[in-house]
Symmetry: C2
Subunit: 350 residues, 2 copies
Amino acid sequence: MRKNGLSRLIDVAVAAGVSRSTASNVFSAPDRVRPELRERVEAAARALGYLGPDPRAKLLRAGKVNAIGVIPPAELGVADTLRNPVFAKFLLGVGEACDMRGASLLVIPDGPAHHGTRSALVDGLIFGRIEHLGMVRPAQLRRLPFAVVDFDAGPEIGTVKVDSRLGSCEAARHLIALGHRRFAIVSFLRSAGPARVYPPSRHRSPEVAGMFIDQEKLRGYADAFSEAGLDIAEVPIVQANPWDIAAAPIVLDAAPEATAILSMSVMQALAVVKEARRRGIAVPSQLSVVGYNDIAEAAQSEPPLTTIDARGVDKGRLAAEMVFAGGPPRQEILVPRLVIRQSTAPPPRR
Amino acid sequence: MRKNGLSRLIDVAVAAGVSRSTASNVFSAPDRVRPELRERVEAAARALGYLGPDPRAKLLRAGKVNAIGVIPPAELGVADTLRNPVFAKFLLGVGEACDMRGASLLVIPDGPAHHGTRSALVDGLIFGRIEHLGMVRPAQLRRLPFAVVDFDAGPEIGTVKVDSRLGSCEAARHLIALGHRRFAIVSFLRSAGPARVYPPSRHRSPEVAGMFIDQEKLRGYADAFSEAGLDIAEVPIVQANPWDIAAAPIVLDAAPEATAILSMSVMQALAVVKEARRRGIAVPSQLSVVGYNDIAEAAQSEPPLTTIDARGVDKGRLAAEMVFAGGPPRQEILVPRLVIRQSTAPPPRR
DNA sequence: ACAAAATTTTGGATCGATCCAAGAAATCAT
DNA sequence: ATGATTTCTTGGATCGATCCAAAATTTTGT
């Protein structure tokens, strides 16, 4: 017994009259110990209340923790991460991969100085956002397997991406195929603040052009428009914080003549549907709405929302499998899928 | 530089021409080292690509990991845990507490032999269910601070509980106060399988009496009924797996004359509302429904669901704070709150 | 019964740092 | 310049296990 009251492997060994190594073997390789001796050691362990090797010490030698770490987008804490339904789906995928190997999942809020990356006790890391590019090198140097998600970090680094340009293109194509010609787009506003409206003709202003991920999606919309001989420059764009559902009325006001709304976020799309119904605009017969990302609420909305399944779960699973598997870095690109529900229909006749 | 390519503190020390201790101090107590020397060490570290003390070794001495572990109900893996909205709320609360201390959150799927409990690298543990009672002793012996949630483990052990008897009593009181007299109860079926109906008079059968948590809630309903001079024995009970929303039709069929449904799960309550509307039964004017547990879907349902807020977030936060704070074991009992929305109204006149 | 082979057990070294008491160097007082 | 302080730096011990090669023991073959 020690001063701190906990007994160690060596205490057990002494009590059982064997060497440390033998005692160690009883716990980690029982077959190597003669049954008789093994029982003696086990009895001693029981008597001392010894619970098996201390995971910390074990770790020091073995180096394996049996856990994977996920570092959420920079500004998010643990709670925010869990609260965000889109990110939660991703986490779910990571969780699935963990379950396959019986590993644990660590959510690491990234404090200042990337303390999390440097000190987390994990076998590998998954970086969730662009802001983490600076942490890639530290992780590399720590020789920790890791993968990045949703951004390009070069061929040296395992990556899982979703082709969001294609995804939003599909969304727009779907509406165009239904016959829509008058649209409005709900885009992202990264900086905090109220929604902003960009009427047609103001698209080339730097605020619109300068966004990052959203830019991909905007290109996707533009692809579909030009395929159909339409010009995206004639479509009004509303930028809103993806979670600021109070922006829905602004969207509807900004494009009263639109028959279809393309939203880069699900939450906005759901909010627009709700607001439209509140105003007595029938969805989908008078107004069609397509979102981006498929979450539970989308299926349960009234009417259920047509949206893009951005493969969040698969993304998480693949990233985690990459980390677990080790091996040379791979680049995976997932293809988003259009999920057609009841928020889209041909435009009303005039 | 080592064979494995990673440099250690000692390599840095040698390169800088100082002792290990001094090098160590540069990273953990910079003020103790003369600026000139410190810079020399830092330069050496940079040159060798040394990233600071290895968290694993640090841990062996210090014992702190800056992470808290949550062990979900036995049969759930990591993914199931995140998928379950009720448990996810609890996790959210734990996450909030983590954010306050900048700690990480580890979700530990509990494999066979409680391997997780024994080997998880955390500063403390939270046990999420009755099945974990057997793991309490191991944790105690490991001298790990821990808390249990939702079940009584004796005065020696920190506990956060929610008074579910009171919660369900409130639910029933609410309906009774609105004037309802004919009810049906949706209870839990722990074993897998299809829903079962227990008409009045069969309440005392062992399947009904033998359930655990649900028993508390049933008592709560009974409390409210007897306050109003009603007898719960006259109320039909449907037992269904809490997630088996296919059971909703069975509920409505089992009690066609009921004007109000008391459900022990939110999901069932939401399913019942949906099914009722599908059948053309107006909610709440013809049928009132009260759930138990408040999740996002409940507020977004059509109509929004009246339900019991079982304080999931607070429960998680308190449990985590207990673990972080250490100190003598406390027993917290949270009081559930009735959240009145639009799924309840006075019964229809006949 | 004795050597050879197979199985068990053992002690020393190691994983990568931190702590602490003691030694060395620099600063100050007289 | 000498001793007394104060500030830095150092090596040895430690955290709690595992690994490995060598020693001890048991089993097998003839």
